[in-house]
């Protein structure tokens, strides 16, 4: 089992050993010296050396506040911060860096849309459309603002295999829908939703579409122009970047029409006690001192992912998904939730007779980190009628040998519990 973590093989032209060597944490051991098998990537990703060092170097050499002072240090920090915006915008093929609001993560991005875009437009009887497979960050913000306005949240159903019922989603795009929302990739099922098709249907009806890209940006090439959506939210810590970073891309026209949300420094033009005027987007939505060092690190993460090539990352993760799925299906009593035709490397499973938390704890004893619980997706758990699942989520730095450790640990846990 000890050899498993560092398999030095080259897979599909992807030199996994070399890639793993860039991630200091992957060399860790847990409980009694067990090599860590980190399969909780949908929760948060590990960071490559270059990201850690970019943050470190920023604080040692460049630290200053941005966009406020004319001294050399501040100009350097501002260049780095705005450089991160440019790099991120290019990474998702946004038409302009000025359409990218830097946020503390997906949650802040969806809430910004809820409070600044949706709330002023919502009237009693209106509704918002989401799906049964969403993360709470793509459900609760809409509930909070709908409640204030006497509007309603609707959710499109799923097929038993975890695919979205796209026909139903489209049928629910009725005229009172003021915003439609969908995950690009489900964090529980791995389902990749047909965003282009959905976006086309929304556009035809004049309904703006928000896509939660939290689980897509780290794992596949994302092109917001090609997708045809109107808002795209993502989070930095899942894409090998620092915690407390993320972004909201939105069409220029939509941003231009959105009133300010947070008040404070940087987002104003002129402040008088009697009233204030506000900066243009994206500054209008970035009140206060941002997570400057975090975004410097996120720019390094983007460069790292680009150097690996998102196409090749996606291909490598498909190989891992196929391998792990086949091996897991050999475990007696194990049932995988979600078998969409188009699926990312996220595997939720149940083992007959064993509670998900017990499994997760016993896997942890073998060094295998998975997540158990509802994965911030209660309505999806309700759909499947289960209280919790175990979820193994893979990244390009994982190996087939790690999937083997997972399976062996599961068999051992089953013996104890069932």
């Amino acid at each position: 089992m000890n050899a498993s973590a560092g398999t030095p093989a080259t897979h599909d032209g992807f030199d996994v050993a070399r890639v793993r060597a860039e991630f200091p944490l992957l060399a860790r051991t847990v409980h009694d010296g067990k090599p860590l098998v980190y399969l909780d990537n949908a929760n948060t990703a590990q960071k490559p050396r270059c990201v850690i060092e970019a943050v470190d170097r920023f604080y040692r050499e460049r630290n200053a506040n941005v966009a406020r002072a004319v001294h050399a240090l501040s100009e350097e920090a501002t260049d780095l911060y705005e450089g991160a915006r440019t790099a991120l915008a290019r990474f998702i093929n946004a038409p302009s860096a000025q359409e990218l609001v830097l946020t503390s993560g997906t949650t802040m991005a969806t809430n910004l849309v809820a409070y600044s875009y949706l709330l002023p437009r919502l009237e009693p009887g209106d509704s918002v459309l989401t799906t049964r497979m969403e993360h709470h960050a793509n459900i609760v913000p809409w509930q909070l603002v709908c409640e204030r306005r006497g509007a309603r949240l609707k959710a499109a159903a799923l097929e038993a295999n975890g695919e979205l019922r796209v026909d139903e989603f489209i049928a629910l795009l009725t005229p009172e829908v003021k915003l439609a929302c969908v995950a690009h990739v489900s964090n529980v099922l791995g389902t990749v939703n047909p965003v282009r098709e959905i976006a086309a249907a929304c556009r035809k009806r004049g309904i703006p579409l928000l896509v939660d890209g939290s689980q897509a940006v780290p794992h596949m090439p994302v092109d917001v122009r090609a997708l045809g959506c109107d808002f795209y939210a993502f989070t930095g810590h899942k894409m090998c970047g620092p915690t407390g970073t993320g972004g909201l891309w939105a069409r220029r026209e939509l941003l231009a029409d959105m009133p300010p949300f947070f008040g404070g420094g940087e987002m104003i033009r002129e402040v008088r006690i009697e009233g204030s005027t506000f900066a243009d987007p994206p500054a209008r939505f970035e009140a206060g001192t941002p997570n400057i060092a975090g975004f410097v690190g996120l720019a390094a993460a983007v460069a790292f992912l680009e150097s690996l090539d998102m196409q090749r990352i996606a291909a490598r993760e498909q190989v891992l998904l196929d391998y792990a799925t086949a091996r897991l299906q050999e475990v007696p009593g194990l049932r995988i939730l979600g078998s969409a035709a188009h699926k990312a490397a996220v595997i939720s499973f149940l083992v007959e007779g064993a509670h998900a938390h017990d499994l997760a704890t016993l896997l942890d004893l073998e060094g295998v980190a998975v997540r158990s619980g509802h994965h911030c997706a209660h309505p999806l758990m309700q759909f499947y009628g289960v209280p919790a699942t175990c979820r193994a989520s893979f990244s390009f730095y994982n190996t087939e040998a790690e999937a083997d450790v997972l399976v062996a640990a599961l068999r051992k846990a089953r013996k104890l519990l069932v």
């Binding site: 010296g33 509670h355 938390h357 016993l362 004893l365 758990m381 104890l416």
Partner: protein
């Protein structure tokens, strides 16, 4: 986090209680009852109590929950008989100290003392806490208990 503590979390004593729990035959007549639920975990527990002169004279539970909840509910049953509300409170305090890893008088906890292993496992403490919390709810006339966000 001590590796030893974690490795022993699922020791045979715990698994045996979970596999074949005592106190699982429903009472004919319950004087108090409550439901314990940890929604985030998906743990669900029902507790029945018989009371004589305000002291516990009967206890039964039904759990759809993880090993730790089931084992704790079973072990708890072995210590409850004869206790009044103050006695259960005292026991809960002692159990809490145990979970925090404080040494102390664990004799009164019986098999429950095995959960000292949870000192190293904060995320699972809420599981072991649920049965006692549910019994306390029943004694206080509350219908439900949870040990999430403790």
């Amino acid at each position: 986090m001590s590796a030893v503590a974690t490795a022993t979390l699922y020791r045979e004593q715990v698994l045996a209680h979970a596999r074949a729990p005592g106190h699982s035959t429903p009472l004919d007549h319950a004087d108090a009852r409550a439901t314990g639920a940890n929604a985030l975990c998906g743990d669900h527990l029902e507790v029945q109590l018989a009371l004589t002169d305000e002291r516990i004279s009967g206890y039964a539970f039904h759990a759809e929950a993880c090993v730790l909840v089931r084992a704790a509910a079973s072990m708890l049953g072995d210590r409850l008989l004869g206790l009044d509300r103050a006695g259960v409170h005292a026991m809960a305090l002692r159990f809490e100290r145990l979970l925090q890893g404080e040494a102390g008088d664990t004799d009164a906890l019986g098999d429950l003392a095995v959960f000292v292993d949870l000192a190293a496992h904060p995320a699972r403490r809420k599981c072991a806490r649920l049965p006692l919390a549910t019994v306390l709810a029943a004694l206080a006339g509350r219908a439900t208990a949870t040990t999430e966000e403790a």
